[in-house]
């Protein structure tokens, strides 16, 4: 009964979305207010229905209803409850349901918080949002229905891939989807604005907070995924340039560019066509990611069970959504007149440079990701593009990005004082040079020296600008407090995000340049020196029982110069359903670096193969990424984005002196 309710709710949601996609759009053209307001009501109804469907499937998982094919294929009575609930992302059908659930959530948010939008823009944006819903609900109902029944009912399910049974992974995909789908908001606004033919500062002010939300979630989601890979896959790395990682990274790059260019539209009323294109591109990359993962056109460790018929359907969706919006863009963009002119040395130029470099970076990631496919189709042979390509293309592109990142915020709009800015950055330049030279002379790595120098430049430059704003020449404590409050939150947000980037660079440099890796056979009592730590294998306890696995659990004693540091317990697990081995690395971190231990199979002599790493500065990557996302969140609380209620209140009050 419950699955049928879910199925039925999904079909109803399709029809609600169809209505919402058509009538408000048509009627908005005629200025019919009642029909336009209907879009808001419809989006609430759609959200309720989609939530019902989502909840119904979750119910089937929680109660282990194996008469539902999707549950039987992916769950098991022994599976811990948290993964029955959180496994929403674990298979294709269920993750698509999560996709439209989040889309419904954003649609609801648009109708709730969009009260101060011009009614026609709001109606059209909600309409576009509903068109996306129609496409994806149809996709679920026609090719990937999670509510299909199974007869005869099996006694138990096939279980969930144990690699996915991990608390870190319970949160990674939902955040990623909140990011991907979040770009649909900016996209819907862009299409609505193109239809209306009006893109102005007010438009940018509506779009920017939603872009910040999506971008913040995406940043966090990518960081979580990388962290999960780092501590569960057991190879000591945290990024592989795998097609699916790239699929999440490309929208992030486009989104980062969009964040910066929408600022220009908002403040200076220029770069409009470009910004609109970026909103389309950011969402297109999100859709492309969905396509690449599910269609089987590329091979990746992350792919869902792929199916060409689904691939053809999603490709059709891509053509309709991306193709349609790009045609609309091509027709309307030339009429979007830019406003303000700006000098070469100006805030606008620095943001534009950011945009160009981010776009080139996104383009090169796209090229690298799809190159194997191009080569295959063009009969150039089977190739696989790996980290060497991405590193050699991506890293040089990021060098000017980081240099400009410190200068840009110091330049004023329209015409900036480049000489003055560079003078203020002198301490940063000196600190960068000193760091680079010290690093180079101590470690002998010229690349590491340059990278740490860049990070120092960004960090000191950004901190310097913060100090410059907080502490002018002469002032009292009251002045200082007033400044702390009056400086816009968006400035603090930017400062945090840029500092976060500096930390990420430091982390990446540390982990690539000074990683220590030791692989050997160890017997009980053996000690191996990794960096400055001594790791002693104390013992291995076989047959440790977990909820649905049996583990071999090792005990390592970590000491430094004879003093106790930590005890590590890496595990080698064998899950029962489906039977599959996994390695669980044990990590001890002191923020400066991670001691990372993995236990392998025993050999004939009674020893164990062990892999021990010292990964310096890796935590900084994740801390830095977290700070970047936090920067987005802080920026979001900026006064000018608390749209809706406050603005209206201001309008109703008499002007205050």
């Amino acid at each position: 009964m419950i699955p049928e309710i879910g199925h039925y709710a999904l079909i109803l949601a399709l029809f609600v979305a169809l209505t919402q996609a058509t009538f408000p759009m048509i009627r908005a053209a005629r200025g019919n207010r009642a029909w336009m307001d209907m879009a808001g009501t419809a989006s609430v109804a759609q959200f309720v229905l989609v939530t019902t469907a989502f909840g119904a499937l979750m119910w089937c998982y929680v109660t282990s209803d194996f008469s539902v094919l999707n549950v039987a294929q992916n769950s098991h009575t022994n599976k811990p409850l948290i993964y029955k609930i959180a496994g929403v992302w674990s298979n294709h059908e269920r993750s698509m349901l999560l996709w439209i659930f989040i889309l419904g959530l954003y649609g609801l948010a648009m109708s709730l918080f969009g009260g101060n939008l011009p009614p026609s823009l709001r109606a059209r944006a909600l309409s576009v949002q509903a068109m996306i819903s129609v496409g994806f609900i149809l996709f679920i109902l026609l090719t990937s229905n999670p509510f299909l029944r199974l007869d005869p009912v099996p006694t138990n399910g096939a279980g969930l891939n144990p690699l996915l049974q991990d608390p870190g992974l319970a949160f990674h995909p939902p955040f990623l989807y909140l990011g991907y789908v979040g770009f649909s908001m900016a996209f819907s606004f862009a299409i609505a604005a193109l239809i209306e033919g009006r893109v102005d500062a007010a438009w940018a002010r509506w779009v920017r907070p939603w872009t910040l939300v999506a971008w913040g979630f995406l940043t966090f989601g990518i960081a979580m995924g990388s962290w999960w890979a780092y501590y569960t896959l057991g190879w000591g790395g945290w990024w592989y340039w795998d097609p699916v990682e790239n699929a999440s990274f490309m929208p992030w790059l486009a989104g980062t560019a969009l964040l910066h260019s929408s600022l220009v539209v908002e403040r200076r009323d220029t770069l409009k066509a470009w910004t609109i294109l970026l909103t389309i591109v950011a969402f297109s990359f999100s859709l492309l990611g969905t396509f690449l993962v599910r269609s089987g056109v590329l091979t990746s460790v992350h792919s869902f069970a792929s199916d060409p018929s689904r691939g053809i359907f999603i490709l059709g969706l891509l053509v309709a959504a991306i193709g349609g919006s790009m045609v609309l863009f091509a027709i309307r963009a030339p009429s979007l007149k830019g406003g303000g002119l700006f000098a070469v040395a100006s805030r606008e130029s620095s943001l534009l440079l950011n945009n160009v470099l981010m776009s080139v970076a996104a383009g090169s990631v796209l090229l690298g990701t799809l190159y194997p496919l191009f080569a295959d189709v063009l009969k150039l042979g089977k190739v696989s593009v790996g980290p060497p390509f991405f590193n050699s293309v991506f890293v040089p592109l990021m060098v000017p990005v980081v240099i400009v990142m410190a200068i840009g915020p110091l330049l004023s709009w329209k015409r900036g004082d480049l000489k003055g800015a560079l003078r203020r950055l002198k301490p940063a330049a000196i600190a960068a040079a000193v760091t680079a030279i010290i690093t180079w002379s101590m470690s002998g790595g010229i690349g590491a020296g340059a990278a740490l120098g860049l990070a120092t430049w960004l960090f000191v430059g950004t901190m310097g600008e913060l100090a410059h704003r907080l502490f002018p020449m002469r002032m009292t404590a009251v002045d200082f407090l007033r400044r702390v409050i009056t400086i816009p939150r968006s400035f603090y947000g930017m400062t945090l995000a840029h500092l976060g980037v500096a930390l990420v660079i430091i982390g990446i440099t540390g982990s690539t340049a000074w990683k220590t890796e030791k692989v050997q056979v160890m017997h009980f009592g053996d000690t191996v020196k990794v960096a400055s730590y001594d790791l002693t294998l104390k013992g291995v306890e076989e047959g440790v029982k977990g909820p649905n696995y049996v583990a071999a659990r090792a005990t390592f004693l970590v000491t430094k110069n004879g003093t106790f540091v930590a005890e590590l317990h890496p595990e080698r697990r064998m899950y029962d359903m489906p039977p599959r081995p996994t390695t669980n690395a044990a990590i001890h971190t002191n923020v400066i670096g991670d001691i990372y231990a993995v236990i392998g199979d025993p050999d004939e002599s009674g020893g164990y193969v062990t892999r021990l790493y010292y990964n310096p500065l890796v935590p900084w990557i994740f801390i830095g990424a977290g700070i970047i996302a936090l920067g987005g969140l802080v920026s979001l609380t900026d006064r000018r984005y608390r749209i809706g209620v406050p603005l209206r209140k201001v309008a109703m009050q008499p002007p205050q002196s």
Partner: protein, 182 residues
């Protein structure tokens, strides 16, 4: 339309080219001829002669003569190959079905390969190392992973490019192997 308008059409043009590639690839997959199945000239030919040192010190060499007499699956793999990770868990099923499983570690550093096997488990009965890919040329290795099913007479009867999935094993490999062992 003025000349000024053409840049606005660049995005859609690029997108359509991409769609073309995607569509072609999907059609290829739909016809079942790509990306995994490429008819091999090696089918129904005897296994090329090879002698490879074992991946593990102290174990005997892996020699083509010795694989005759039993149905064998030769699996070409490498630690650097991401799809090999996908295929890996399913190799146990092949072993369980009584097929001899011989690995050829292709263009890989032996220490990397050994580490990889420590991490994922070692289902192979024997593994030879083909560091420079010389034997790979004789086999016509095209992309890793690749698998060759060999009958009792040492003749290649089936070749797959790309990872073996559970479906491939259950629907193709196992039925064919059962037939060949009669």
């Amino acid at each position: 339309m003025s000349l000024r308008r053409w840049p606005a059409f660049v995005p859609i043009a690029i997108f359509l080219v991409l769609v073309g590639f995607f569509a072609y690839r999907l059609v290829m997959i739909d016809h079942g001829d790509a990306p995994n199945l490429i008819p091999s000239v090696m089918i129904n030919k005897p296994v090329p002669n090879f002698t490879l040192p074992s991946l593990f010190d102290g174990k005997p060499q892996v020699v083509s003569e010795e694989i005759k007499g039993k149905v064998t699956l030769i699996d070409v793999f490498a630690s650097w190959c991401v799809p090999c990770r996908i295929e890996h868990p399913y190799l146990d099923e092949i072993k369980k079905a009584g097929i001899v499983l011989v690995g050829i570690n292709y263009k890989d550093r032996p220490e990397d390969a050994r580490r990889w096997l420590v991490q994922l488990g070692n289902p192979y009965d024997a593994i030879g190392t083909d560091r420079d890919g010389r034997v790979g040329i004789d086999f016509g290795v095209y992309g890793v992973p690749e698998s060759y099913l060999i009958d009792k007479q040492g003749v290649i009867r089936y070749k797959q490019i790309g990872p073996l999935t559970r479906e491939d094993i259950e629907k193709v490999i196992l039925p064919l192997a059962t037939e060949l062992s009669k």
